[in-house]
């Protein structure tokens, strides 16, 4: 049993990573990665929504009428996302002002609906919860990596703290905080990760 959970976690984080393997959730990956603090809240939202949606859908899977399962899934996802939205607005209003529009868009994030339909509707609640967590963490790992690089290169800061003696040795790359910076970083990371995976699979 433990090994199956480990496999689910590994798949979500690496083998079936939602960003560079399944190419899901790209919109928010591009939009909220110019500051690490914003990214962390977005990742928290996606992990929370994916895990709880998977758990709830799995719990109800034998009772949901097949014809309306998509509508039920959307209601569940939207409810969790609205709760997250309210919580972030209450706890971190400044970050909410920046990422607010994207938090709402978690409802339409393909990762959540995809996992609910592909995994949670056919598996038991606990493995579904782990699958949701794993996919959320896989999404977060990629977003955080991109955000760290973009914030350091674009602002010369990390989590808002300036790098030591930044002005002496670093010229900020403005392009890294603009949308093209996100496209470049995501493409480079996807290229790197897929090249590694192809090599591993060939072995």
């Amino acid at each position: 049993m433990a090994s199956s959970y480990t496999k689910i976690l590994k798949d979500g984080l690496l083998g079936e990573n939602p960003i560079y393997r399944q190419v899901l959730g790209i919109c928010s990956a591009l939009a909220v990665t110019n500051l690490l603090a914003n990214t962390l809240f977005m990742c928290f939202g996606v992990i929370f929504a994916t895990a709880l949606t998977n758990f709830t859908v799995s719990l109800l899977r034998n009772h949901i009428p097949k014809r309306i399962r998509m509508i039920v899934q959307v209601v569940i996802i939207a409810s969790y996302v609205m709760m997250i939205d309210i919580l972030i607005k209450a706890v971190a209003p400044d970050i909410h002002r920046f990422i607010g529009p994207y938090v709402g868009l978690i409802i339409t994030n393909c990762i959540i609906m995809g996992r609910a339909e592909a995994f949670a509707s056919q598996n038991k609640p606990l493995p579904s919860l782990v699958d949701g967590l794993a996919c959320g963490l896989g999404y977060s790992a990629v977003l955080i990596s991109i955000a760290v690089i973009r914030e350091i290169m674009g602002f010369g800061t990390l989590l808002g703290f300036a790098l030591p003696a930044r002005d002496l040795w670093w010229t900020q790359w403005t392009i890294m905080v603009m949308p093209p910076g996100a496209f470049f970083m995501l493409a480079i990371m996807t290229w790197f990760a897929r090249a590694k995976l192809v090599k591993q699979e060939a072995k």
Binding site: P65, I68, M83, I86, V91, F98
Partner: protein, 213 residues
Amino acid sequence: MNKKSPVYVLSFMAAICLVFGTGIAIVNYATQGLLAKNAVLHRNRVLCRAFDLPVDGTSADAYQQAVDQHLVAEEQDGRAVYRRTTPGHESLGFEFGGMGFWDRIEGVIVLSPDLQTVRNIQFLDQKETPGLGARIEESWFTDQFKGLQIDWDNPRGDRLVVGASPDPDPKNRVDAITGATQTSMALGRFLNDELDRIRSQYSQPLNPEPLNP
């Protein structure tokens, strides 16, 4: 019960909506106090930025104290008007608002007491496209308004110009935002409407005395 029967489908959907609706209502109710505090802090921060008030610290109390100490608030036709009476910094702040590209944009414009010069502009609320129209909040955009001369002799919609102007060196024009033409045009449109409203309210000479000495 048969899962395909309309009664089951309707009952199931109603139950799901009821359970999750209640969940959202509980979270909303539990955070109401925090949300109200955040709203007050946000307003005070915007006012401090708009009037360039000295703030002793970054706490909510520090912002509240700065606003209480330097500004006198009153209401005109349901809109807040702020008066700063500190010698050498006399100015008037007006809440304004109008329809942007997606939703209403609300802000505060600070003018000189003779209503001829814009001292600053800051935004309280906007839901424009992130990365495009939402950039109206960025300092490079709002800083353009500092020192702008309102040309009251111009036609109604051109007292302040956001975007292109036939005059190569106008004192009443700011650059629009690239890629957010609709937001920029909307801002220019309702800002001019609001300026007319402000002038009509303050057409009489302003009382130089503070409201609450």
